[in-house]
C-alpha cells in the first residue's frame, strides 16, 4: 500500500489552529441560519421529500434529460460539448477561448472548474484568469485553495484578508469588511468590463428549455455571463432537472440549506446566447457537460450522491469538518459529501481513507435537503476499501480474530477473563492510562476502563443462572 498524505496527517496540521477555529465559528453560524430559515416552513419536510424525488428522477433519466437539454440549447444558438474527463474538458474550454482570441477570462464560482483544475490549465496556455466570486478572488490572490464549496475562504479571518490585500494589491491595511469589499469591487469591475470571456458554473440546468440557472450573492455571475463576448458554462452531467417547476423547488431548498437565505440575492437564468435586439449578452454560449467519473459513480453503490445540490449543509453540520476544516480533505469536495464524491470521481487510491473521516453521527443525512443517505454510503465505501485490503493489518487481522471469538460464547468468556488478567499490567485502580500497541491512540487522549473481573454474563450466571 502506498502511503500518500492521509486525511489524518492533513487534519493534524490543522487541529487547534486559527484556521480550524474560524471554520468552527463559521460553520455554527451557517448551520444556525439554515435551521432558522428551514423552521419558517411548516412544510419543510415535504419540501425535502419533493426535492429528493426531483433529483432522483433526474438521475434515473439522465440520458434523456441531457439529450433534451442539449437540443434546446442548440436550437437557441448555443453550443453543447460533452467532456468525458478533466483533460477533455480543459481542452474544450481552452480551444473555445483560443478560437475567440481570448486573453482575459473572468470566472464566477464553479466547483467543476476546481475539480478539473481549469485555471492552471488556462494559465499554462498564457491566459489570464480572474476569479470574481469574492471568496474565490481572495483564495486566488492568496494562492490558496477553497476550503468550503459555498464559503471558499471561510478559513480566513478578515484580518487575514486585510493583510493579503495590503500585500498583494498595495492598498493600506484595513480589516473593515466593507472597505475590503470596496477594494475588491473596484478591482473586479475592471475585469468585468475588459474580459474577453466569462467562465461560470451551473447550479441547475433545466432540460425543458435548455436554461442554465446560476445563483450568486454578489452579482458577479450576472456580469461575467453578459458582459464578455463569450460565455462558457461548465456543469457536471448530473446537475440537471426536468422542468422549471422542479428547478424552482431546488432553488428554494438550495438557498435555505446553503446560506440560510430564502433565496439567493441573484438568480440568473440563461437561455441561449444574445438574440437580435437583446441589449446585452454574449455572442457565443458554450455549455460543457462534464462526466469525469460521474458515470462510474452512477453505476455503483453510491449513485445517490449525484443527487447532491452542493449546498454544503452537510459540511456545516459535520463534527469532523467543523473541527479540521475543508483543507484536511485534500481535495475540492470536502466534508461528508466530498468523502463520498471524491473516491467516486478520482478512485479509491489515495482517497480511500476519506470515508473513514467520519463518526457516522448521521447529522449530515439529517440536514441534507435531498435526504442523501450519506452515512450508509460512507459505509459502502468502507466496505470497498476493506475488501481491497486497504485497512491496516492489525485491524483486519484483529477483527477477524475478534469475530471468530465472538461467534463462540465459550471462547468469548475465556477472552474476557484473559482481558481482565492481562490488563493488570497496564491498569491502576480500574483504569488504563496507556494501552500498548495499535490501540494506543485511545489512551493518548483518554483513559480506558479496565475489563472487569466478573462480567455481566458471569454475574448473571452466579446469581440467576439456570
Amino acid at each position: 500500500m502506498s502511503e500518500p498524505v492521509s486525511f489524518l496527517t492533513r487534519a493534524e496540521t490543522l487541529l487547534g489552529t486559527d484556521e480550524a477555529r474560524a471554520v468552527d465559528r463559521g460553520m455554527r453560524r451557517m448551520s444556525a441560519s439554515r435551521e432558522a430559515v428551514m423552521a419558517e416552513l411548516p412544510w419543510s419536510e415535504e419540501l425535502r421529500d419533493r426535492a429528493r424525488s426531483i433529483r432522483l428522477h433526474a438521475l434515473s433519466h439522465l440520458d434523456r434529460l441531457l439529450a433534451q437539454f442539449a437540443d434546446q440549447i442548440t436550437e437557441r444558438g448555443g453550443r453543447v460539448h460533452f467532456a468525458s474527463d478533466a483533460a477533455e474538458a480543459n481542452d474544450i474550454v481552452a480551444s473555445i477561448l483560443s478560437s475567440a482570441s481570448a486573453r482575459l477570462v473572468a470566472k464566477s464560482k464553479s466547483m467543476v472548474s476546481e475539480e478539473i483544475e481549469l485555471n492552471r490549465h488556462l494559465e499554462a496556455q498564457g491566459m489570464e484568469v480572474v476569479e470574481t466570486d469574492l471568496g474565490e478572488y481572495i483564495a486566488q490572490l492568496a494562492g490558496d485553495t477553497p476550503s468550503h464549496i459555498i464559503a471558499p475562504v471561510l478559513h480566513l479571518t478578515r484580518e487575514d484578508v486585510g493583510q493579503l490585500f495590503a500585500e498583494k494589491l498595495g492598498v493600506p491595511y484595513t480589516d473593515d469588511p466593507i472597505a475590503l469589499n470596496q477594494v475588491a469591487r473596484e478591482r473586479l469591475r475592471e475585469v468585468f468590463l475588459t474580459a474577453d470571456a466569462g467562465v461560470s458554473g451551473v447550479n441547475t440546468a433545466v432540460a425543458e428549455t435548455g436554461s442554465l440557472v446560476i445563483v450568486t450573492n454578489e452579482g458577479n455571475g450576472r456580469l461575467i455571463t453578459t458582459a464578455p463576448r463569450v460565455h462558457i458554462a461548465l456543469m457536471g452531467m448530473e446537475r440537471i432537472v426536468r422542468s422549471w417547476e422542479d428547478a424552482s423547488l431546488i432553488l428554494e431548498v438550495l438557498a435555505r440549506s446553503a446560506t440560510g437565505q430564502r433565496l439567493s440575492v441573484y438568480t440568473n437564468v440563461i437561455t441561449g446566447p444574445r438574440r437580435e435586439g437583446d441589449p446585452d449578452g454574449p455572442e457565443e454560449l458554450h455549455v460543457v457537460i462534464v462526466d469525469n467519473g460521474r458515470s462510474d459513480i452512477l453505476g455503483g453503490p453510491t449513485a445517490e450522491i449525484l443527487a447532491c445540490i452542493r449546498c454544503g449543509a452537510c459540511l456545516n453540520i459535520c463534527p469532523v469538518f467543523r473541527t479540521v476544516g475543508g483543507h484536511a480533505y485534500g481535495t475540492v469536495y470536502s466534508g461528508p459529501v466530498g468523502s463520498v464524491v471524491t473516491p467516486g470521481l478520482h478512485g479509491m487510491d489515495p482517497w480511500w481513507d476519506l470515508p473513514y473521516a467520519s463518526t457516522l453521527c448521521g447529522a449530515c443525512e439529517e440536514v441534507c435537503p435531498v435526504r442523501i443517505r450519506i452515512p450508509s454510503m460512507l459505509l459502502k465505501l468502507r466496505e470497498v476499501a476493506a475488501s481491497e485490503g486497504r485497512l491496516p493489518g492489525w485491524l483486519e487481522k484483529g477483527m477477524a480474530r475478534y469475530a471468530k471469538v465472538a461467534a463462540h460464547p465459550s471462547r468469548w468468556a475465556r477472552a474476557k477473563r484473559w482481558a481482565h488478567r492481562l490488563s493488570v499490567l497496564v491498569s491502576s485502580r480500574g483504569w488504563i492510562r496507556r494501552i500498548p500497541g495499535p490501540a494506543r491512540g485511545w489512551t493518548r487522549y483518554r483513559d480506558f476502563p479496565r475489563p472487569v473481573k466478573q462480567s455481566f454474563t458471569e454475574w448473571w450466571r452466579s446469581t440467576r443462572g439456570s
Binding site: 463518526t359 468502507r382 470497498v384 455481566f456
Partner: protein, 241 residues
Amino acid sequence: MERPQVQLLVTCLVDALAPQVGRAALAVLESVGCGVSYPEGQTCCGQPAFNVGLTEEAKRMAAHTLEVLDATEGPVVVPSGSCTEMIVHQYPALFAGTEREEQALRVSSRTRELTQFLVDDLDSGITASCGGCSVAYHHSCHGLRGLGLRDQAERLLRDVDRMPLEGAEECCGFGGLFAVEMPSVSAAIMDEKLDRVEASGADTLIGSDISCLIHLQGGLRRRGSDIEVRHIAELLAPPGT
C-alpha cells in the same frame, strides 16, 4: 397491565467493561414489572466490524447474535441506541436476499432500545432520580438520529435537576474505531463536548450509550474533572441495585 417477559441484550461493552449498567437495566425492567431473561450466548452484535467495512466479520457476529436471539421470545431490550440501531436497521440490510433475511427481520422487529421500551412500549411512567445531583444529558447519535429517540430520555429525566447542555445533540467524537484510528480528531471533538459539559454546571453526565460514555468519562478523567458519568439505567434503577 400484564408486563411482558423480555430478553436483555447488554452489549459487549457493558458485559466486559460496565456490568453495573447491565444490572441497572435488569433492575429497571424488573421494577416496572417485566420478567427478564438473559440469553447467555450473547457476545457482540458485530457493529465494530461493520463500521470499518469488514462485512464478512460483521455478518459472522450478526449471524451468531441472530441465532441467540431468535431462539427466544418477546421484546429484546438493549441499553444502547447504537447496538439497537445495528440490529434494527443494519441486520436486515446485511442479510437482504439471503436465507437469513427472514430471521433478521424477525429479530429486528422485536428489538428495542431501553428508554424507547420503557417510554414508548410500556408507557411505564417511571422517572429517574439522582439524589440531589445536577444532570447534563448527552444524546448519543445512533439513538437520536438512527432511531429517532429524543423525547424518551427527556421524559425519564423530568424529575431530576437538569442543566442545559449546549450542543447536547452534537456528536461527542467517539465514532467507534474512529476514536482509535483518528484519535486526535476524535479527541478534539470530545474536548469541545467536555468543555460544554463542564460549562453546564452539571455534576453528573448522563447518556444512554455506554460506548460514548466510556470515551467521555475517559476524557474527563484525563482532565482531572470530578464530574461523574453514568448511564441513564443507573438513575432509573431502584436505589440499592
